[in-house]
Symmetry: C2
Subunit: 112 residues, 2 copies
DNA sequence: TGAAGTTTCTACACGCCGTAGAAGTGTGGC
DNA sequence: GCCACACTTCTACGGCGTGTAGAAACTTCA
């Protein structure tokens, strides 16, 4: 459900990296891709509709912020992928088997 | 890159569950959705083009099989998701924190 | 060789995404 | 209060992916 296009992803990335909510203009400049501001506004509106972005309508210009952190969102994506299979554990087992040694060590540490 | 539509996913699911390669007709019947066989053939051709399905052209009717197992494919998807983020570990940490106790136990067991 | 089964080719509709102009609306300065 | 300017909304278009399938071509077996 929360699959993003290329530009949408770029915009989310900026919002995730920003400590503050951003205006459409700021996003536009940060993108550094010579896009019309209306393009950015359209994308932001679509992201809002998808529930990924919250818009502060009080201030003018409106300011936009990510609803969930990058990590939260990514974990959601992982769970979405895992939701497509009948048995999560068997996939996780194989995934664990595919990660690097250092990552495996990190996972052991996290799991306590 | 390997994102699938609804019908494509259903077809893959059948191929994954089948011990044998299947013909378009067999897939069609197993789908139980009253689709034209040409529809199924189109989908199978697209899946082949995406590299998800191997077609045995020798036999007639052609037979189709999944290239990767469901688990392999899903792990690929997981890695794709993790590839969208600057730091995999931080996401994995959060993911681990979100799984059930029994799943965490299973992960510990797998990690040895 | 013809009928039945199979595959290929072509096509259409629909929804998503990148893209942005035109038109509408709010705001600060005069 | 009014105007220019900044900002937002509305509308739209083209391309691509996907579900869908008919028409035509091809294969095989009787």
């Amino acid at each position: 459900m929360a699959s993003l296009g290329e530009l949408e992803r770029s915009v989310m990335s900026l919002l995730w990296d920003s400590a503050q909510p951003l205006s459409a203009n700021e996003v536009c400049e940060l993108l550094d891709e010579d896009l019309a501001v209306t393009t950015v506004l359209t994308v932001l509106a679509r992201l809002e509709k998808k529930g990924m972005v919250r818009r502060e309508r009080a201030s003018r210009p409106h300011r936009y912020a990510a609803v969930a952190s990058r990590e939260e969102h990514t974990v959601e994506m992982l769970n979405e992928v895992l939701g497509t299979v009948p048995d999560r554990e068997v996939v996780l087992a194989r995934f664990i088997g595919s990660v690097s040694d250092s990552e495996a060590a990190a996972l052991r540490r996290i799991l306590g």
